[in-house]
Amino acid sequence: MSRWWRRSEGPLGEEHAFLERIRVYDKALRALAFRLLESPEAMDDALQETYLRAYRDRHRFRGESEFGTWLYRIAYNVCIDKLRFASRETTLNDEAPSSDAVLESTEVRVDVQGALAALPAEQRALLLMIDADGFTYDEAASVLGIKTGTVASRLSRARQAFRNALPQYLAREMGE
């Protein structure tokens, strides 16, 4: 499994070093934020806030987890905050998600994106972290703020929900 987000952890510090360091994890965080918020603009907003929070709190990072996991956790919390507020924000953003703009128009990708979008945020995050990015259960638990033992059951439910939400893919696989 790819562990590409894990890099040697250099000292945190000033602006330049901080920017260099977050660039290592930027792609993974973009994927998380975009899959959760379904809009490039919202993704950028969320990651601006994520990086500012991380920079502000960089002295609190004590190396008890991977730096990437720590960043992931901040990003996840920021996205959840935005989703919660978006639901309070009424129907202002009830237009179709703009994710289509960045997706290629192949059926499979649309199916996969749609299936993923149909899941609750936590299930989306679990699939992305564990199945796509290779997080351990401990790391995923740290990001989501849940017990490690809970991850397995929730991941199982997330996978099943994803399978159920991917009818076209399954239909094709089944030769229908």
Partner: protein
């Protein structure tokens, strides 16, 4: 039967494209980081574990903040690590806070009924959001799902409702002579209008991008014009019943954050930058006016307002969430036109799960501050009145 294997799920997800950042993302981030570096460090009370003694020494300059925290949470002074900080317990909120007296002017149930006094919505999905204040202290509240604007007396009694068929009004602003301006959703577009005291409606032409804005806002200028602001755009526009006048924002100062007010200038709450910026006129660039402290992360639910004297009011929803300490609260500050802090009041800190959500704020010309909160499926409006004039 072929079943999608776990490994194949990962392969499918990794194959999905990921968008790049928008232009100037890292330049903007860099500018914001630089702004932060110029500010003094705060929240030394969060220095954990082995630094306890050091933290106590460092905390000296922030003693007020620290004591305030301990008192407001009914907790003991923590002596070891943040993990030992006690849980937040609800307590009585003072009737007076600083130079203000607090009173509840509206307290109604959220639900799905159309019964008088019941707003459509729930705590998780608030549809009755923004509150506006008319002359004499009457309140107007947009009931989006109910397609109406409700009007309440200053003491909270329901006076009546203004039907807005086909529209989901989400913001109403009181105008002179009992009229009000509103923003509403009409399907996927945003519309605006002015409802006069006699009930007639005059549509307002919004600037072209308004229909695509994520969180447009509506406010009044000192000269009575309606202004709306868009989130995630650079658009600020002055709008009248006869048309709009775009006010271009600076290139690097996209209107990303909610929060705005209008007196002689346009103010914006830059939440990520923890500051309030001001633009004196359409052609000027934004200038930092107030640098906010780091006492809790600013949430999206933050609002600005101005009174007749041009004083600036900022209502913040704030939060501390580091896994061990999880508290949220609402506070409001009053600044003079030069950005000097004049007064402030802070509501009780509560656990994030139970804390009220601020959904709107309004400031009257005479300096009263109204905060609309949602908690336990109730919609409450609190009024903070200056104890002795302004």
């Amino acid at each position: 039967m072929n079943v999608l294997r776990d490994r194949e799920i990962g392969d499918l997800l990794r194959d999905l494209p990921v968008p790049e950042h928008g232009d100037g993302f890292f330049e903007e981030l860099k500018a914001r980081l630089r702004f932060r570096q110029t500010r003094r460090p705060t929240r030394a009370w969060l220095v954990p574990a082995l630094a306890t003694v050091t933290a106590l020494a460092v905390v000296g300059a922030n003693e007020t903040r620290m004591v305030s925290l301990v008192d407001s949470t009914r907790g003991r002074f923590f002596s070891d690590t943040r993990k030992q900080f006690p849980p937040v317990k609800p307590g009585e909120e003072p009737a007076e806070s600083g130079a203000y007296r607090k009173r509840t002017v509206l307290d109604v149930q959220l639900g799905d009924a159309d019964a008088p006094g019941v707003l459509n919505g729930s705590e998780d999905r608030v549809r009755a959001a923004n509150v506006g204040v008319l002359d004499g202290g009457e309140l107007v509240v947009g009931d989006q799902a109910g397609h109406r604007i409700l009007r309440f007396a200053a003491d909270g009694d329901l006076l009546g409702e203004i039907p807005t068929p086909g529209l989901a009004p989400f913001q109403a602003v009181g105008l002179a002579d009992g009229a009000l301006a509103y923003l509403a959703k009409n399907g996927s577009t945003t519309t605006a209008g002015i409802i006069s005291a006699d009930g007639s409606t005059t549509p307002i032409e919004l600037a072209p991008l308004a229909s695509k804005l994520v969180a447009p806002g509506l406010a009044l200028t000192a000269d009575g014009l309606v202004v709306h602001v868009g989130q995630s755009t650079t658009l600020v526009a002055r709008t009248t019943a006869k048309g709009y006048v775009p006010l271009p924002a600076g290139e690097q100062e996209a209107e990303r954050q909610r929060g705005y007010a209008f007196g002689d200038a346009v103010y914006r709450l830059d939440r990520s930058g923890s500051r309030i910026v001001r633009r004196a006129d359409a052609d000027a660039s934004e200038q930092p006016l107030v640098a906010l402290d780091d006492d809790g992360v600013l949430q999206l639910q933050s609002f600005l307002g101005t009174d007749a004297d041009g004083a600036l009011y900022a209502a913040f929803a704030r939060r501390v969430d580091d896994g061990s300490i999880r508290v949220a609260w609402v506070e409001c500050r009053k600044y003079d036109a030069d950005g000097k802090l004049v007064a402030r009041f802070t509501m009780r800190k509560e656990s994030i799960e139970s804390a009220p959500s601020m959904v709107s704020a309004a400031v009257t010309p005479d300096g009263r501050v109204y905060l609309a909160l949602v908690q336990d499926d109730r919609f409450r409006v609190l009024c903070f009145e200056p104890l002795s004039g302004k």
